[in-house]
């Protein structure tokens, strides 16, 4: 005679909640240790790969310069993300509401995606009033497409039975959009947002590289390139680490928003009742 295992003890919310913080942290420590060990063991020169400790020191020392640059980059990032989300959502709506518009515009959205910023940055600089606007335009172009793609897929994935329901009750297109398609597209939208968040950040950096302002009011990208040019590799890494942490933070933020919106109803965020 064997009994089934006793019912699971009530969940341990604290451990559950700490896990998402502790695990990445543990890995972080491990990565840092390996990195440190590698640099020491193979006597890697700081101008090739500086050790973590040196990078940390540089980060503290150059905090003034770097944090200022970070703020500039963040401003571009969030402006670009905001514009891309707004633009892509609007376009996705347009393209799913009208078959013709979808057919007509998607190729051009693709073209926008595959055009190398580096190549068209000069053109943008010529036609756009100032560098700030040029950088924003570039960042926007990069961020735009993944959000558009996901939003379009989401708007198209609405349950046909619910569409029937709305049709039956004489819902206007706007109502169908607001009360059905947009809520139903959320899981896709948030996936797009999660990609878009990081992409906006990197796009801000790339845009700065290409269309970039330089000198005093410039962002992280410029600082990174400059450090590279000056072979100030510890600072380069400090800049990269700042960038990465910001990226993780942005990702975490978008994931949080997504979780809050989906947790009551969508499989991807719902805890299984077991």
């Amino acid at each position: 005679m064997t009994d089934a295992p006793p019912p699971a003890a009530p969940p341990r919310p604290l451990r559950e909640r700490l896990l998402p913080v502790l695990v990445p942290l543990a890995i972080l420590v491990a990565v840092l240790l390996v990195w440190d060990w590698y640099v020491r063991a193979y006597d890697v020169k700081p101008y090739i790969l500086p050790g973590p400790w040196l990078v940390a020191q540089t980060l503290v020392k150059d905090w003034g310069t770097l944090s200022g640059a970070l703020l500039v980059t963040l401003e571009i990032t969030f402006s670009a993300l905001f514009l891309a989300v707004a633009g892509a959502s609007l376009l996705a709506v347009l393209m799913t509401e009208s078959r013709i518009a979808g057919l007509a515009l998607f190729p051009y959205a693709v073209i926008l995606q595959v055009t190398p910023i580096v190549a068209i940055a000069p053109l943008i600089l010529i036609y756009v009033p100032n560098t700030q606007a040029a950088v924003l335009t570039c960042a926007f172009i990069v961020t735009f497409f993944p959000i558009l793609s996901n939003m379009t897929a989401g708007l198209k994935s609405v349950d046909h039975n619910l569409l029937d329901l709305f049709h039956l009750y004489g819902a206007s297109r706007l109502q169908t959009l607001l009360f059905l398609k947009i809520p139903a597209a959320q899981p896709y939208f948030f996936t797009g947002l999660r990609i878009g968040g990081g992409l906006a950040l990197i796009a801000a950096v790339v845009a700065e590289f290409s269309a970039g302002s330089a000198g005093a009011g410039s962002g992280l990208a410029f600082r990174i390139l400059e450090s590279q040019y000056r072979l100030n590799i510890p600072r380069l890494f400090a800049g990269l680490i700042l960038l990465s942490s910001t990226g993780v933070l942005v990702f975490w933020l978008t994931s949080l928003v997504s979780h809050l919106a989906l947790r009551r109803w969508h499989e991807s965020a719902l805890k299984r009742e077991i």
Partner: protein
Amino acid sequence: LDEVSFGTNWLAQAEHGGFYQAVADGTYEKYGLKVTIRQGGPQAANRSLLIAGQIDFYMGGNMLESFDAVKNGVPTVTVSAIFQKDPQIIMAHPDQGIDAFADLAKLPTIFLGKDLFITGFQWMKQAYPGFKDEQYKPYTFNPAPFIADPQSAQQGYLTSEPFEVERQAGWKPKIFLLADQGFDTYSTTIEAQQKLVDEKPDLVQRFVDASAIGWYNYLYGDNKAANALIKTDNPEMTDEQIAFSIAKMKEYGIVESAEALTGGIGCMTDAHHKSFYDKMVAAAVVDASVDVTKAYTLKFVCKGVGLDVKKALGG
């Protein structure tokens, strides 16, 4: 005052010193100009802005850019050449038995920027047998891969990379100035739109003259104010680096050699242009159909402007 904008091709540094000097000490103003310097930088698009007419003068890197402009019908001309020699170098590790320029061909790797690859390197292949495309690896303005690989060479700017490499790696790289090997282009030129040259020759002349005077003052006079301007534009710039650059420019005769000694800073000659052009045609970097004389005008230079200033400063 005439408002004039001047776009440089890199971040503010000692190599742009004369222009900043002329701003700082009021030389431009004396010549009736109100000059705004727009510094360039990695991938900045100041050249496009000149072509699009959004700035008045642009600091050209070498004459090839002007040849290309002629070939493609872009109406810009070089009106002055501050550097008699292009400070472009190839450097190698000191302990690899690289004694002559031609020895570089033995190395498996040369890190080059794309622009130098499609220009200078093509010429190297033609002028020095043994160089081949397989040696090329892209240089991303980070010398670490070069330092890490003793069997490699890398492009550089006479006044910058060797300084950084020495500071970081602790050894002095072997340096080969391309200009001394025959790549004899002018550099740090002043380019303007043909329209400006035709319609406001007087303004162009004033800018060229004031710039030359600025340069004399920068090299031989009190350049503190100019350096302060440079450091505002580019906060990373150090006095140490500036001093190193000025010393190198003087040592290699970057600014003052050949005709510049008699004609003044900025002087250019047809012969010098033709010499470089012919080499580039031979290396198939430039099309033989280009009318080289359209790339520049000698109208504004070799007038000895500023030689008096130099003398006054005891240079």
